[in-house]
């Protein structure tokens, strides 16, 4: 039995957008969580989510909630360019952190986090929730059991809707899909090939520069080939311009591993579960439009059903909260791994833009 008698958690939710709200719901329903505080740069949004979660405190100021004495765990679900500051604030106060990916947008800011961890002796884990998609957990298990032999190569690709790219661009102008999304698959592959670091990246990209594209994202599509230290070849791709009404609601992905003794082929395109309805389904990203066809199960974080949230982000959030309470190990990405993911994604973008191979490490 786990050693958890009497221990409770007070959780701060920093950033109450879609992800913060989901994480907040999981926290609010976790048996060990006795206190919740949330903040958002939009105080009205923080208040609204606080009410729905039954949170005891809310604010427009992150530090107000992180520094509450009841808070002993901090979840950071702010926009990609607003991760580093609250992470370091929590570390300074000795509070463990679960932060959304990516660790930051530059290697210098990622190193600030690593230095703060060193200095204050804290713990930060990053929410690369693909690891908690059961199919990838099972793949990791097979790799650990040695059933593939030596991994000689792999492939991962993810496609998503144009509307998703626009949303990301609204959060942080010019944010590259490689850095905020392909990073999931970089993380997965590095996890699956643990101990075998990437030494070289080569990539190419292309985009049509559609008139409705904002920001500076040049490539709708990027293909990359990673060479690992032992020579294994991992090929990755990301495309964020699927047509608006394509029936998926999140990442459509494929992950494949080839080993000397076995092969794993994972279909994450969600075409196994379709719903067609003449009544229509509200389209998440196109408010005024219903869709008739939907790949159920295609939402990346998971889905609401029967009043609860189900899926990778639920399992991941619970795994982290359990880890804090009972000390059980959890599979969440460490800060060092998150920095490595960022470095690889920055190298991919650089290789695609400069059309040349990029060797790792790259300069800060």
């Amino acid at each position: 039995m786990a050693q958890n008698a009497g221990k409770t958690l007070g959780v701060a939710i920093i950033g109450t957008g879609r992800m913060g709200e989901i994480r907040g719901h999981i926290a609010a329903t976790h048996p060990s969580v006795a206190f919740i505080a949330c903040s958002d740069r939009d105080p009205a949004r923080a208040a609204k989510v606080a009410t729905s979660l039954g949170a005891q405190f809310h604010s427009g100021n992150n530090l107000d909630v992180i520094s509450r004495p009841e808070v002993n765990a901090v979840i950071i679900s702010s926009a990609e360019d607003a991760h580093v500051e609250p992470v370091i604030a929590a570390l300074k106060l000795g509070k463990p952190v679960l932060c959304e990916k990516p660790i930051g947008l530059s290697l210098a800011s990622a190193d600030d986090v690593l230095e703060a961890i060193e200095q204050y002796g804290g713990s930060v884990r990053y929410g690369y929730s693909r690891r908690f998609r059961h199919r990838y957990l099972r793949a990791k298990e097979q790799v650990q059991q040695g059933r593939l032999g030596t991994i000689v190569g792999g492939h991962g690709r993810a496609y998503n809707l144009r509307a998703q790219a626009r949303q990301a661009d609204v959060r942080v102008a010019g944010l590259s899909p490689v850095v905020y999304s392909l990073t999931y698959y970089v993380d997965l592959m590095c996890w699956l090939l643990e101990g075998n670091p990437v030494v070289e990246v080569t990539a190419r990209g292309f985009g049509l520069g559609k008139p409705d594209a904002r920001g500076q994202v040049k490539h709708d599509l990027t293909w990359a080939t990673l060479t690992h230290a032992d020579g294994a070849i991992v090929n990755l791709g990301i495309y964020y311009a699927l047509p608006e009404a394509y029936p998926s609601r999140g990442l459509s992905s494929r992950v494949e591993l080839i080993g000397t003794e076995g092969v794993i082929i994972l279909d994450g395109d969600h075409a196994d579960q379709i719903m067609y309805s003449e009544i229509g389904v509200p389209h998440v990203h196109l408010p005024n439009q219903d869709a008739k066809m939907l790949f159920l199960g295609s939402s990346t974080p998971g889905s609401w059903a029967l009043g609860d949230f189900w899926g990778p982000v639920a399992d991941e959030t619970r795994a982290w909260l359990d880890h804090l309470i009972t000390g059980r190990a959890c599979a969440l990405t460490t800060a060092r791994e998150a920095r490595n993911n960022l470095e690889i994604t920055l190298a991919i973008d650089r290789s695609a833009h400069e059309r040349r191979a990029v060797r790792l490490p790259i300069e800060r």
């Binding site: 030596t150 190569g153 292309f206 070849i233 495309y239």
Partner: protein
């Protein structure tokens, strides 16, 4: 209604695919004469008996030069394609040659030069084009439903035992030159007129190299087209020998400004498990229990007939000869380009550098 001409056919090379082509041709309504050859005269005779051919020989020239012969199917080993094609062209016969056109670019150039000088009808059997899912994909592109193509993906896996068999026949017929070539051809066909101008590839050696073959276990290449579209293409011929597929396991995807096409060609939709065991195609002494039905690349025998891409392709070519109807088989120019791209992919993987192709 089209007017049809009778066809006299020579089959050069009586191996597995030559045998299949001969059997398919023998049942075509326009084929009136068949001659078969093989460097092993006994094998030619066996095939001749089987299909009721009028002539067989251990000498290719004997069958190609026969006055009854109008057309020649070249199903020899990869490195013997060029001599047989040139011989047929010199005798003014139409040619269907198995892919690749040649295993090196100077041989491919000899064929192109000969056609430029003296004319001739040569088509290359890239039978993936006649796999219905790819035919349907091409139709969507022709109809403009994808809009402008931004890029795509093709990946091919197959058993390591297949790689051993092919490279024992011809060491230059690597998984890239001999097999990935199908998917380079498909991309050329889908993106017709938009040439691949640069390839950047990386590969990893292991199982195949340990067996003494000069080939990568896993190879991925990113190909850039002249309009900037980027195509990702990969091949691995090291699947375990009892993996339940008996041919290509493939994925082909196309991303366009107005649409997307995802093609699952891994054959998981039709599986058979039997405690009785199924003879393994490439491991004569071994049975398997599980097989992905429909995973044989050329197609399958069922109820006494052969069904699948190779049947459709052979028929389309014979119809083309007999009635003049156009067919979708690859032309020598495209096949030469495809060969150049596959050679560039290998060169890039070996050097760890991008390779540019002349425009």
């Amino acid at each position: 209604m089209s007017e049809s001409k009778p066809i006299g056919l020579a089959i050069v090379g009586s191996g597995r695919i030559g045998t299949l082509r001969a059997r398919l041709a023998a049942s075509h309504p326009s084929v009136k004469f068949i001659a078969v050859s093989d460097k092993d005269p006994q094998r030619a005779e066996t095939l001749a008996d089987r299909v009721g051919a009028q002539l067989h020989s251990g000498n290719n020239l004997d069958v190609i030069s026969r006055p009854e012969v109008d057309a020649v199917i070249v199903s020899t080993s990869e490195h013997e394609h060029t001599e047989a094609i040139l011989l047929a062209l010199e005798h003014g016969k139409a040619v269907l040659v198995e892919k690749p056109l040649a295993d090196n670019s100077s041989d491919a150039l000899r064929v192109i030069d000969h056609i430029a000088r003296s004319g001739g009808n040569v088509r290359i059997g890239y039978s993936r084009r006649y796999h219905q899912r790819y035919m349907l994909a091409k139709e969507q592109i022709v109809a403009g439903r994808l809009g402008k193509i931004v890029g795509g993906l093709a990946r091919l896996y197959n058993l390591r035992t297949q790689a051993y068999a092919i490279m024992e026949r011809d060491p230059l017929a690597t998984p890239v030159v001999d097999s990935l070539t199908y998917y380079v051809d498909l991309m050329h066909w889908f993106l017709e007129g938009n040439r691949i101008v640069e390839v950047e590839a990386r590969g990893q050696r292991g199982v195949l190299a340990a067996k003494g073959f000069d080939a990568d276990d896993v190879l991925w290449a990113i190909m850039t087209c002249e309009d900037g579209a980027v195509l990702d293409i990969g091949v691995s011929y090291v699947l375990p020998e009892k993996y339940p597929s008996i041919g290509h396991s493939a994925r082909v995807e196309l991303l366009g400004s107005e649409g997307v096409l995802l093609i699952d060609d891994d054959h998981k939709d039709q599986l058979m498990y039997t405690e009785r065991g199924i003879p393994h195609v490439y491991l004569p002494d071994s049975d398997v229990n599980m097989v992905f039905l429909g995973s044989s690349t050329p197609g399958d025998w069922a109820l006494g007939e052969f069904w699948g891409p190779l049947a459709a392709e052979t028929r389309a070519w014979l119809d083309h000869l007999s009635t003049g109807r156009p067919c979708a088989l690859a032309t020598p120019e495209v096949a030469k380009r495809t060969l150049e791209v596959t050679l560039a992919i290998q060169e890039s993987a070996l050097a760890g550098k991008p390779v540019r192709l002349a425009g």
